[in-house]
């Protein structure tokens, strides 16, 4: 097991882990349970590319603009973000608390001919192992961890000076209760019921406050909204439901 120099506590929520364990085979099935995530993916990848290219001063037209950057995807699931990041040139570590996710992700990457270092571990395990990264991604994960301050602390510890942290999650608003919880799980059936606990959602200001306490600078908060007519997700100024936040170390 891990050795964690910050004392007790864990970010692992066993209940959440069990829920995802049962879905591990479905990550890459475009018609399976994660279809909404595939649909959502281009918008958040677009945000990542834009932010990282800007922050690291890379050529926005390059095929592999993230070449040479070491990136960790915390809570990588089946690798839906890790693989595109590897294709854009980053050297990627993917970690997940659910063993079956790591297995599914590694199998898929091998088939796609991508070199990605997948590990079954928690953020704090990487800290304990002395790992550090230019880019830390915590996408759709803070709402599933047991201890948010501990998790964000671990994110900061993993970040190299000048590095970039991106957090994506769901806001805690009346609109998000209606759309992201009731709408997505009960009305549209996009997500298995019980995927999210609305009370655990965090407002951008709450995440920002934690990150500032960790000494990071919040650079941007952008909303991700759904356009029902075209069935597509777009980046927007509306952060009431889904949003992405970028913070940098130094």
């Amino acid at each position: 097991m891990r050795t964690w120099d910050d004392g007790g506590g864990t970010t692992l929520d066993p209940e959440e882990a069990r829920r995802f364990e049962a879905l591990a085979d479905e990550w890459w099935d475009p018609h399976g349970k994660f279809r909404p995530l595939h649909n959502f993916n281009p918008a958040r990848l677009g945000y990542l590319r834009g932010r990282l290219v800007g922050h690291f001063g890379r050529d926005p037209l390059a095929r592999r603009p993230l070449e040479g950057l070491r990136l960790v995807d915390l809570g990588c699931g089946g690798g839906l973000v890790a693989e595109p990041m590897a294709r854009l040139g980053a050297s990627v570590v993917g970690c997940d608390a659910v063993p079956a996710n790591v297995g599914a992700a590694a199998a898929h990457a091998a088939q796609a001919g991508l070199e990605i270092d997948y590990r079954h571990c928690l953020a704090e395990d990487l800290v304990a192992a002395g790992e550090s990264f230019d880019v830390v991604l915590a996408l759709e994960v803070v709402e599933h961890v047991a201890d948010v301050p501990l998790f964000l602390h671990a994110c900061r510890r993993l970040l190299r000076p000048g590095g970039c942290l991106v957090v994506a999650t769901i806001n805690r608003t009346a609109k998000s209760l209606l759309l992201a919880k009731i709408g997505a799980e009960y009305v549209l059936g996009w997500l298995p019921r019980g995927t999210h606990d609305w009370r655990r959602f965090l407002r951008p200001s709450e995440i920002a406050a934690h990150l500032r306490r960790e000494g990071l600078t919040v650079r941007d908060v952008t909303g991700v909204t759904y356009a029902p007519l075209t069935n597509e997700w777009r980046l927007s100024a509306d952060t009431d439901v889904n949003y992405m936040l970028t913070a940098t170390a130094g």
């Binding site: 279809r35 281009p42 990848l45 677009g46």
Partner: protein, 425 residues
């Protein structure tokens, strides 16, 4: 024969290097993707006048696509602007009149001879470092099951690509091999195509005339630089003013018309064409095409996208076949380039389905509209004729409806890809 089989690694393999295939090659290659195009015919053959004597209407939206890709400037000098479209029912007095000034200053579209478009595309892609052309060549086998599509070419070359685009036209062997079924129906009509020379200039006016046998379209093309070869045989008729003709005829009669000697053919032509442009005569060879409609049940499969006539071949009544293909190009190029930009696997179904959703509606609408128009107009039953004449007159008097139909014909209706809005990829 190469001693050792070659192996090529590309992002995109395009099967079929016709107008649609080369346009998407230019769009994707221009955006930095590595492209290999395989076509059965060698390039000089494709741009020879005898290979394809047709001219195509390039709608306003299609012109924007070609401009965005950087090809239009290579063909603009030989593109005739369509300033006015006059639709009439035989010799009935009512007619529908589309004037480009109803929508602003831009022409409704341009008429361009296909060989001009092909030559411009060939010249353009040959200057792109990212596009290679294998012509003549063909694909003898596919394996699209894994994380890359693998193709075997007739010369033994093995190609690995993230996605295969089938742009082989109506009888796409790649579509058949993929087991994608089609819905198809035929019309008892043949399209006869030729160029005509006429005494008076056409002044940029296109005519679509609904004769009992089917539509008869007179489409303005640029004047010839010099009198054509046939002018020598007709010293009293040396004109350089030209139009492209699409003459729909019943299957039973078409072969006989096609076989006529030129004086007899020209006599049949004049009976339908009339004398509004002075005297007329046909120029060069004649082509004929059986008319049918074909729609693929789906446009995508694992690591495969159908484009242009391989996905949908519609009735040529409204001159929209190539335009639909170029709108496919704009949509598919945007979907693939956007996906590649964010690191997604461009051959993944979740990516390709976005293209299918985007193009389905436009295609189905035009297929049904052109089929309906043809069924409505290809007969000479008096009541039907009266109703449709009143209909044409009514459309003419309802500016909003007319503008809507014009916008669709111009390709500026609906949620448009960036290229079709005149924006870069």
């Amino acid at each position: 024969m190469p001693l050792q089989n070659e192996h090529e690694e590309v992002d995109v393999l395009i099967v079929g290097g016709g107008m649609v295939g080369l346009t998407i090659a230019a769009a994707l290659g221009g955006a930095g993707l590595e492209v290999l195009v395989v076509d059965r015919s060698p390039p000089p053959h494709q741009t020879a006048p005898a290979f394809d004597g047709r001219a195509s209407a390039i709608a306003y939206g299609s012109r924007l696509v070609l401009e965005g890709i950087g090809v239009w400037s290579r063909m603009a000098a030989e593109a005739e602007p369509i300033l006015d479209i006059r639709v009439s029912d035989g010799d009935a007095p009512f007619f529908l009149h589309y004037d480009h000034r109803d929508l602003g200053e831009a022409p409704l579209g341009h008429m361009v001879e296909n060989r001009v478009t092909r030559r411009a595309l060939h010249d353009h892609v040959s200057e792109l470092g990212t596009v290679r052309l294998r012509a003549p060549g063909s694909v003898t086998g596919f394996d699209r099951a894994g994380s890359r599509a693998h193709a075997l070419l007739d010369d033994g070359t093995r190609v690995a690509a993230s996605i295969v685009i089938a742009a082989e036209g109506k009888r796409s062997p790649t579509r058949t091999a993929a087991g994608i079924r089609v819905t198809e129906w035929t019309y008892p009509q043949t399209g006869i195509v030729c160029t005509v020379a006429h005494e008076e200039p056409h002044r940029g006016i296109a005519h679509e005339r609904f004769l009992p046998a089917g539509p008869f379209a007179i489409l303005p093309i640029v004047d010839a630089d010099e009198p054509d070869a046939d002018a020598a045989a007709a010293p009293d008729l040396p004109w350089r003013h030209r139009s492209s003709l699409v003459w729909t005829e019943r299957n039973a009669i078409a072969p006989r018309i096609l076989e006529l000697e030129r004086p007899a053919f020209d006599e049949e032509l004049r009976r339908r064409f009339g004398d509004f442009l002075g005297a007329v005569r046909s120029v060069g060879p004649r082509w004929s095409y059986p008319l049918s409609v074909l729609i693929a049940e789906r446009y995508v499969d694992h690591r495969l996208a159908l484009i242009g006539d391989a996905a949908h071949a519609i009735h040529p009544i409204a001159g929209q076949g190539l335009n639909l293909g170029l709108r496919d190009v704009a949509a598919l190029a945007e979907v693939l380039v956007d996906a590649a930009r964010v690191g997604l696997d461009i051959g993944d179904l979740s990516v390709l389905e976005r293209y299918q959703r985007w193009r389905r509606f436009d295609t189905m609408t035009l297929t049904m509209v052109t089929d309906g128009l043809n069924r409505l107009f290809s007969n000479d039953i008096a009541p039907v004729r009266l109703v449709r004449d009143l209909g044409l007159a009514a459309v003419n008097r309802m500016p909003p409806l007319k503008r809507l139909l014009m916008r669709h014909a111009m390709g500026t209706l609906g949620e448009l890809p960036r290229l079709a809005r005149g924006q870069p990829l």
